[in-house]
């Protein structure tokens, strides 16, 4: 039953990849979407069943078969659904389904075979992601972990004809490999030290030990796992791949690089909450790195001009928030934010996708503006998403972000809290910079008329209906399928927060209590309940951050609607920092100089020129020439004269016979 959830998308993948090129778009796309819908309904059913159980025993397990059995160390191919993974599968399948639907329209201009290929990848990704989430042991999780990495590579490089896309795909894959390497090490360390890879048994084993005051085995294992997480979830130092990943189709960015895959790291930490909470030093590291990432990405996002890149950096910074939550031990809050973020970030990406779609591939916000009237649906949904991410009270982002900040403050990390607040200010600002530059003001792009040839060259398709005349510009708002996804997600980003209303606001953090048992071993009390006492403090903090959000929005309005000149002035006065931000702190260049070039030199000069050419080839050729020489010698005997052979044979006979006669 449980294994069916990943199986549905996988079947979709099989069909689409084998027969896809022969199927019409409606069939292949519809098939993929149906597969997602099926596994979403199934997940919902199972979660419902889960909710029916006793709060402490909310677990559904399925052992498919024993995968590895060596001595007493065994790994089963097993799936486990508990409160944590329940949230995840709902997010993955639900949002995944919406994005599939959205894609059916968005990718419509691809030829059939490409279309099918796209959906087969998308399904494969979903199936791997579900394996990752449902896996009952590190190894099974790792299968999904690698699988989603592969799919992200395939989908970033979906338009592999475009060099930048192909490169971005490779970059993502390689960077991910680095993280995965650390992840494998951590996994092996756990396997050797604790003799098992099953999450529950690991947790039990760890729970038995005291928290490590000093940096010990558990800490090392946790740290390695966290490095893996930074790779997958784009944290310092391995975040560089995510912005480039925007080369992929926008729905992919929405699904993989905003909603689901990149959150895998967060999920993994939450999954091993017990382990991490037994390594306080690592937790601190996690918190610090998360905060730093959040701040840095926020600053970069402030100046980027590519609509998708802005969103990408915002994703990075939001992920930073999640890690901060994890770091301060507020696992519930982290997952909560993951959950809400999935909604509004997916919404934002899809909205940007709608914009790009409408502008036939234009991504530079400097060439946009005033699209409000042209694309009403897109505009309003996008606006809602922005409000939600900015943390305006009443929307999804507000609750989760505030819970994180409160937990941070409550745990006593005041500096982190300040930085967090600062980041949220940044967030509000750059998000609304984006909104204003894109949707308000006048259209700054070269007037893209309805001249068909140009549309063709943009590879756009031109539907007669759904066209809105705006600024003499010939645009069309999101077609039905896209609009559907947008609206649903907009609703989500408004309402999603309300399952986690904190006690301070008279709610009783349903999600928190729901999740609590996943972060502790059996008996321990769910301590998220104890937050209640701090009511007044929490309220004040909320007011602060709300104010900050509004302030940020206002700032953005002031700067980019009223006084554009100030911005330019700042850009000129602080030219150096501006360029620094614009070039993303030159991190890519630094990495290139520090890592890529040395490796290239070593492989080229050392491994290739020296080792391969000299030693390996030397061995091979040596063997060859030896044989040749021997053959040259032996060939003297093979003179090809039959009678010579017969003669030698005959001599042999006579000699042997003579020998046996003589003795």
């Amino acid at each position: 039953m449980l294994s069916l959830i990943p199986l549905f998308p996988f079947l979709g993948f099989v069909v689409n990849s084998l027969a896809g090129r022969r199927l019409p778009k409606a069939v292949s796309g519809g098939l993929a979407s149906l597969a997602m819908l099926a596994s979403f309904l199934l997940s919902a059913l199972l979660v419902w069943r889960l909710a029916g159980m006793a709060p402490d025993a909310r677990v559904i397990e399925q052992r498919v078969y024993t995968w590895i059995a060596s001595g007493e160390f065994t790994v089963d191919l097993a799936f486990r659904l508990d409160t944590l993974s329940a949230v995840m599968i709902l997010v993955v399948t639900g949002i995944g389904f919406l994005i599939h639907v959205y894609s059916t329209a968005y990718m419509h201009q691809e030829i059939d075979s490409e279309y099918a290929r796209y959906f087969s990848y998308l399904n494969l990704f979903a199936s791997f992601m579900l394996v990752l989430v449902l896996g009952a042991s590190f190894l099974v999780m790792f299968v999904g972990w690698e699988g989603v990495g592969l799919c992200s590579y395939l989908l970033i490089g979906f338009w592999f004809a475009k060099k930048s896309a192909a490169d971005a795909g490779k970059k993502a894959f390689v960077v991910n490999r680095i993280g995965d390497y650390a992840f494998i090490l951590g996994m092996l360390l756990i396997a050797t030290r604790l003799g098992t890879l099953d999450f529950v048994r690991v947790a039990e084993a760890v729970a038995g030990m005291p928290a490590e005051a000093t940096f010990g085995t558990l800490s090392i294992a946790a740290l390695l796992l966290f490095i893996g997480a930074t790779g997958k979830s784009a944290q310092i130092p391995l975040y560089v791949w995510l912005p480039d990943a925007m080369e992929g189709p926008t729905p992919v960015s929405a699904l993989i690089h905003a909603a689901t895959m990149v959150t895998a790291g967060v999920y993994m930490i939450g999954r091993n909450a017990v382990l991490f909470s037994h390594a306080p030093d690592v937790l601190t590291i996690v918190a610090v790195i998360g905060t730093a990432t959040a701040l840095m990405a926020g600053t970069i996002g402030l100046v980027q001009n590519d609509i998708k890149r802005v969103l990408a950096y915002s994703t990075v910074s939001q992920l930073g928030y999640m890690f901060l939550a994890m770091g301060v031990g507020a696992f519930g809050a982290g997952i909560f934010h993951l959950y809400t973020h999935a909604f509004f970030k997916a919404l934002l990406f899809l909205g940007s996708g709608a914009v790009i779609h409408a502008l036939h591939g234009e991504q530079d916000i400097r060439n946009m503006g005033g699209l409000k009237r042209a694309l009403p649906i897109t505009y309003w949904t996008f606006l809602l998403g922005s409000l939600a991410i900015a943390g305006v009270p009443g929307l999804a982002g507000f609750f989760s972000k505030d819970e994180i900040l409160f937990e941070t403050f409550h745990e006593g990390h005041t500096i982190l809290w300040v930085v967090g607040i600062l980041t949220s200010l940044l967030t509000a600002t750059y998000m609304f910079r984006l909104v204003f530059l894109t949707f308000h003001g006048d259209f700054r792009g070269k007037v893209a008329p309805s001249a068909h040839p140009e549309e063709e060259e943009h590879g756009a398709h031109d539907r007669p209906h759904g066209h809105v005349r705006g600024e003499g510009l010939h645009l069309h708002d999101a077609p039905a399928a896209m609009a559907f996804a947008l609206v649903i997600l907009a609703l989500g980003s408004v309402l999603a927060g309300y399952i986690g209303v904190p006690h301070a606001l008279g709610g009783h953090n349903t999600l928190g209590t729901w999740l609590a048992p996943a972060f502790h071993v059996g008996g321990e009390a769910a301590e998220s309940a104890t937050v209640g006492e701090e009511g007044p403090l929490e309220l004040t903090l909320m007011l602060v951050s709300s104010a900050i959000a509004v302030l940020g929005i206002g700032l953005a309005w002031f700067l980019w609607r009223r006084r554009q000149d100030i911005v330019d002035g700042l850009a000129q006065r602080f030219a150096a920092p501006y360029r620094l931000l614009l070039n993303k702190y030159y991190v890519d260049e630094v990495y290139d100089a520090a890592v890529v070039q040395p490796i290239r030199v070593i492989s080229q000069e050392g491994l290739w020129r020296a080792f391969d050419v000299k030693i390996v080839d030397g061995l091979v050729n040596g063997a060859g020439s030896t044989v040749a020489g021997a053959a040259w010698a032996l060939r003297r005997l093979q003179n090809g004269s039959v009678r010579a052979y017969a003669g030698s044979l005959f001599v042999g006979v006579v000699l042997i016979l003579g020998y046996y006669l003589w003795r």
């Binding site: 009678r643 010579a644 003669g647 005959f650 001599v651 006979v653 006579v654 016979l657 003579g658 006669l661």
Partner: protein
Amino acid sequence: MSDQVLFYAFGAFAVLTSALVIGQSNPMYSVLLLVASFGAISGLYVQLDAPFMAVIQIIVYAGAIMVLFLYVVMLLNAPQEDASEWDRAHPLRRPGAARVGAVLALLLVLQLGWALSRTLDARDTVGAQADAETVSSVRTIGRVMFTDYVFAFEATSILILVAMVGAILLARRETDR
């Protein structure tokens, strides 16, 4: 005693013809002489109370295999051996390999004879231990061949099939392809 005489007659004839087969250069004559020597050998088979094998020897060897040889000789129009040779001369007067070969052959004969003289008592005759009926009955031969030797029989049949296909493939002209 008569069978002794017959043995020596047949034996001498066989040796003579065989010697002539390799002793002269015209393949046509070689083939026919070989047929003659086969005849003599089948006579020896009769002497050994194996009439069946004697007849089979004639049918298979003389009647089929040798005709095949004759065929090829006729087909290739039996070229005499290359002119640059001394075939008219006596084998032993040839230089090189041929002479060595003759010597080796002689050596082999001596060795075999010696081996025989060491291993066998010359006095016990072929018929000493068993009477003719045990070996001359075709029925027995058939029974044993198709029971004890059935596997060998089947294997041989397959060998024949393979040989047939191979021969056809080899002798076919390239232009047929």
